[in-house]
C-alpha cells in the first residue's frame, strides 16, 4: 500500500481529536424559562430566581407521563447571573441552560435602582441569552411574584409567558419589550423604553370602572378561580433606569402613535355622548399611515401629528341605531375625536412634564429636519422635547356597526 495512503488513513483520528467540543446531550440540561432579578441583601449583589421548566410534563401524548411538577423555582444570592449558573448546580442536578429563556423579570425596586444598568448589561455578555428575550417589570419582588404566579391552564411556563406576552402586545395592554429594544433605546438616548408591567399581588383598591383599561397591573378586579397574575400597563425606563409607569390606556395610546408597534386588536369603550349612563364598545383600527410634521428650526419648535383611525362601534346599549342617523354619527365622530385628542394631549403633557422624554419614537422624524448630524446634536432632542409645542389630531372615520347594524328600538319592543 502506498505510504501516503496509509498516512491518509490517520486523518479520521484527527477528527476524533478535534471533534466533540461543546457536545452536550439535550436531556442533560435544565431549561431556564425565566430569570428573576431582585436586589440582593448586600450592595452589588443580586437575588436570582430561576424558573425551570420540566420537559417531562405535558410533552408526551401517551405513556411516561409523570406526577412531577411542571416547573421548579430556586432563588440564590449571587453577584451576577453568569456565575449563578454553576452555583445553582448545587441544587439543580443538570447543567443550567438559557436556550429556552423567554423572560427576564425584574422587580420594580431593582429596576428603579441606579445600578440596574450594570446588572442588565450582563445579558449581552452571555452567548445563550437571546436578544429577543422579553424584559418584564414586576410590581413586587420577583421571588414572591413567581411563587404566586401559578397558571391554571398553561401549566408549562414557557407556553404561559409566550402566549401571555404575545396576546398582551396584540391588544396593546403591554408593549413589546425585547432586550434588544431596551439596549437600542438606551444607547440611542432619544426616547424612553417601555417594558411590560406585571403583578400577581392584588391591591386593596381594586377597580372595575366603566372604562376598563386605565389601570396598572394588580388593580383590575377579577373574580373566579383563576391565576390572579395580571400583565397590564408598562414601566417607563429612561437611560436604563425605571422612572415611572403608564397604565393600560396610556400604553395603548403610545402603541397607536408609535410607528413600530404590533398592536392589532384594540377594543375599548367610549361614553355614549347622547346617553350618559351607557358605554359604547368600539374597535379601533389604525388603517392608514400617520403623518408627523415638524418645525424645529424656529424659535418655538412645533410638532403636528395626524392620527387617522377607523372606529367600529360594536355595541348600542341605548338602542338608538346610529347607523341610520347621519347627524348623530357625525356628532359621534367628533366626540370620539375630541375625547381621544384630550387623552393624548394629557399623555403628551405627562411625558413632557414627568418623564421629560417621549415614548413615541418621534426623534426619528426629527432627524430628517436637520442637514447634518452635528446640527441635530446641537439641537439636543432630549433637552428640547419638554418645551416643544405638540398637537395631535385624531381623524376618525366610522366603520361598520357590528355584524347586524340595525336593531329594533327599545320602545318598539317594549310597547
Amino acid at each position: 500500500m502506498n505510504p501516503l495512503f496509509k498516512l491518509f488513513l490517520l486523518v479520521p483520528i484527527l477528527f476524533l481529536l478535534a471533534g466533540c467540543w461543546d457536545h452536550k446531550e439535550i436531556e442533560r440540561k435544565s431549561y431556564v424559562i425565566g430569570i428573576g432579578l431582585d436586589k440582593g441583601k448586600e450592595q452589588g449583589t443580586l437575588e436570582i430566581t430561576y424558573l425551570i421548566g420540566n420537559p417531562e410534563v405535558g410533552s408526551q401524548q401517551s405513556g411516561g407521563s409523570s406526577m412531577e411538577e411542571p416547573s421548579e423555582l430556586i432563588t440564590i444570592n449571587v453577584t451576577d447571573y453568569i456565575s449563578a449558573r454553576n452555583i445553582a448546580n448545587s441544587v439543580i442536578a443538570r447543567e443550567i441552560s438559557y436556550d429556552l429563556l423567554r423572560v427576564i423579570l425584574v422587580s420594580e425596586e431593582l429596576a428603579s435602582d441606579k445600578d440596574f444598568l450594570r446588572f442588565i448589561y450582563g445579558t449581552v455578555k452571555d452567548r445563550e441569552i437571546k436578544r429577543s428575550t422579553q424584559l418584564v417589570v414586576t410590581k413586587e419582588k420577583v421571588g414572591d411574584y413567581l411563587k404566586k404566579n401559578k397558571p391554571k391552564m398553561e401549566t408549562r411556563p414557557h407556553k404561559y409567558y409566550e402566549y401571555m406576552i404575545d396576546r398582551g402586545i396584540e391588544t396593546g395592554m403591554i408593549p413589546d419589550s425585547e432586550l434588544h429594544i431596551f439596549f437600542r433605546v438606551t444607547e440611542e438616548d432619544a426616547k424612553v423604553f417601555l417594558s411590560a408591567y406585571t403583578s400577581s399581588e392584588t391591591t386593596e383598591e381594586e377597580k372595575q370602572g366603566p372604562t376598563q383599561d386605565e389601570f396598572y397591573a394588580g388593580q383590575l378586579e377579577v373574580k373566579g378561580e383563576t391565576n390572579r397574575t395580571e400583565f397590564f400597563g408598562s414601566a417607563v425606563f429612561l437611560e436604563g433606569r425605571m422612572i415611572g409607569k403608564l397604565n393600560g390606556e396610556e400604553n395603548r395610546l403610545v402603541m397607536l402613535l408609535n410607528e413600530f408597534s404590533e398592536i392589532s386588536d384594540i377594543i375599548t369603550t367610549f361614553q355614549d355622548p347622547f346617553h350618559e349612563q351607557y358605554q359604547l364598545s368600539a374597535r379601533i383600527i389604525a388603517h392608514k399611515e400617520k403623518t408627523v410634521k415638524m418645525e424645529l428650526n424656529k424659535k418655538h419648535p412645533k410638532i403636528r401629528v395626524t392620527l387617522p383611525l377607523k372606529v367600529e362601534i360594536l355595541s348600542d346599549p341605548s338602542m338608538t341605531n346610529y347607523v341610520e342617523k347621519k347627524k348623530e354619527t357625525a356628532q359621534l365622530e367628533d366626540y370620539i375625536e375630541s375625547s381621544m385628542e384630550k387623552k393624548i394631549a394629557d399623555l403628551v403633557e405627562r411625558t413632557q412634564k414627568e418623564f421629560k422624554a417621549e415614548p413615541f419614537g418621534w426623534s426619528l422624524y426629527a432627524r430628517k429636519e436637520f442637514k447634518t448630524l452635528k446640527e441635530y446634536m446641537t439641537f439636543d432632542w432630549m433637552k428640547t422635547y419638554p418645551e416643544i409645542d405638540i398637537g395631535v389630531k385624531v381623524d376618525v372615520e366610522l366603520g361598520e356597526f357590528g355584524r347586524q347594524p340595525k336593531i329594533p328600538g327599545f320602545k318598539g319592543v317594549r310597547d
Binding site: A18, S59, Q60
Partner: protein
Amino acid sequence: MFKRLKNIAGRRKDKARLSKKDTLASQKREKNKSVQSSVTDNLNLFKQIYKIPENMDVKIREFTLGKSGRKAAILFISSIIDSKRLEESIIKPLLQCQDDDAKISEIIFNPILTPVTEIKKVIVHLNLGNAAIFLDGDHTAYMVDCAKFESRAIEQPQNEAVIKGPKEAFTEKVVVNLSLIRKRIKNEKLIVEATVVSERSKNEVLILYIRNLADEKMVANIKSRLENLSVDAVQNLSLLEQYIEERRYSLFPSVLYTERPDRAVSFLEDGNIVLLMDNSPDCMVLPATFWSYFHSPEDHYLRFAFGNFSRIIRIVALFITLFTSAIYVAVTTYHAEMIPADLLLAIAGTRERVPFPAFFEILIMEIAFELIREAGLRVPNPMGPTIGIVGALILGQAAVEANIISPIVIIVVALSGLSSFAISDVSLNFAIRIVRFGFIFSASLFGIYGMTALFITGLFYMVSIKSFGVPYLAPMSPHYVSSGDTIFRKVVTSEVFRPGYLKPADLKKKGDGSTK
C-alpha cells in the same frame, strides 16, 4: 510441514490432471486447422473438440444426400437450435433432393447460409446456435442459421415503472433488445458494432451509436477500452461496467443502467453511446452525468408542470435522505437552541429515559432499517410482507416501549428511509445511503459545522470527477450549451439543443419553437 500442506491442497495432482491436450493453447492449435474434404475426418475432429458423446447436447446427424449417395453430416448443439426449423428447412430438402448437381444454396430454404472453411469459425457459428453441414469432397462447411436461445418474453419494466409512457423492457436476449431499439429509431445511421470482450466464453458486446451524432473520439475511446480487456468471461453488463469504469473505488456511479428501451433511445438520440449484451435485461449508457441518475423517463412524458413537480419531490427526498438523521444528531447534541421550545422539551422529556446518546440511538435505528431492507430483498417472496411487518412493528413500537429509542428517532429514521426509496437508480441510491452515514458521523463530531464541511468536500469531489471525459455535474457546472435538463426541465419546445458536453456533431435537435 509445508510439503504436507501442499500435498493436502493437492496442487501437484491438479497440475497432472490437466492434460496438455486440453489447455487453451492446444485448443487454439486445433482451431487453426481448416475443414477437411472427408466428412469422417471432420466429424472425428469435432468429436474431439466437443468431446462427443460425453457432451450430451452436441448432436451429429449423418445421412446420404438424395439419390447420389454422397455422404453428408449435420452438426449442431441441440439445446440452442430450433429443431423444427432444422427439420423443415434443412434436413428435409437435403434428403429429398433429386438433382445431383444442385449446389447446397439451391437446396436449402434457410435465408442465411454461410460457407466457412476454417474450423475456428465453424466453432464460433456452432456456439451461436447454427448448424454445420459437411459434405464429402467439399472443403467448406455450410453454416445454417437456426438458433433458438431460450429466454423470457418482453415484460414490463420492474425497476423503472411509469404510469404514462411505454411499458416495454429489455430482456436477456440481445436480438430482442436490439429490435426494441431499431423499432424506435428508423435510421440507417444507427450503427451496431459487435466486439468480443472475453477470451474463453466469447461474450459479445454490441456498441450502438448514431453515426452523424455521436462524437467519433468517444466511440473510439470506448471501443479501445472494450478491445483491450483481457478477461476469460464477462457474463453481463453489470460486470462489464466494473471493468471499464474509471474510478473503481468511487462512491458515485459513472455509467447509467436502464431497462427501458425508450430511455436508451432518447440517450442515443442525444449523442450518447449505448452498450448491449446478451444476458443483460438492461443496457448501459455512456457517458452518464449525475442528473441522469436523478431523472426518470416519466419526467418528460408528463406535462411540464407535473414533471417538474415530481422532480421537486425527488430532490427534496434526496436531501431528506441525506440530512434528516444527521440534522437530528447535530441539533440535539450541539444546537439545542435551534429547536422550537415545545419540540425541544418533548425530545428532552422522552430522551430522559433513553440510555444511549442521540448519535448512537440514530445509528441503531439506521442500521436496523438497512437490515430490514437487505433482509427483505433476499427473503423468499412469500415471506417478504412478513419481514416488513415484523421489522416495523417489533423494531419501532417495541424499541420505544422498552425505552431504547425515543419516538422522535423513529419518525426521523422512517422519514429518511422512506425518502430513500424515491431515488430510483440503484447505484445512486446506494451512494446516497452510504454518504448518509458519513453525515451522521460528521454531525456527531462537529454538529452542523461538520455536516457543512462534509457537504462541501462532497461537492468538490463531484465537481472533480468525470464519466468518460464528461464532467459529472455538466451541464450545470461547468456550464455547457444544452437543454438545461438538470434539476428542473424546460417546456419541450424550448429543449432545442443536445447536451454540449457530448460534443455531438449536430448540436441542434429542434427548430425554434419546434416548428419549421
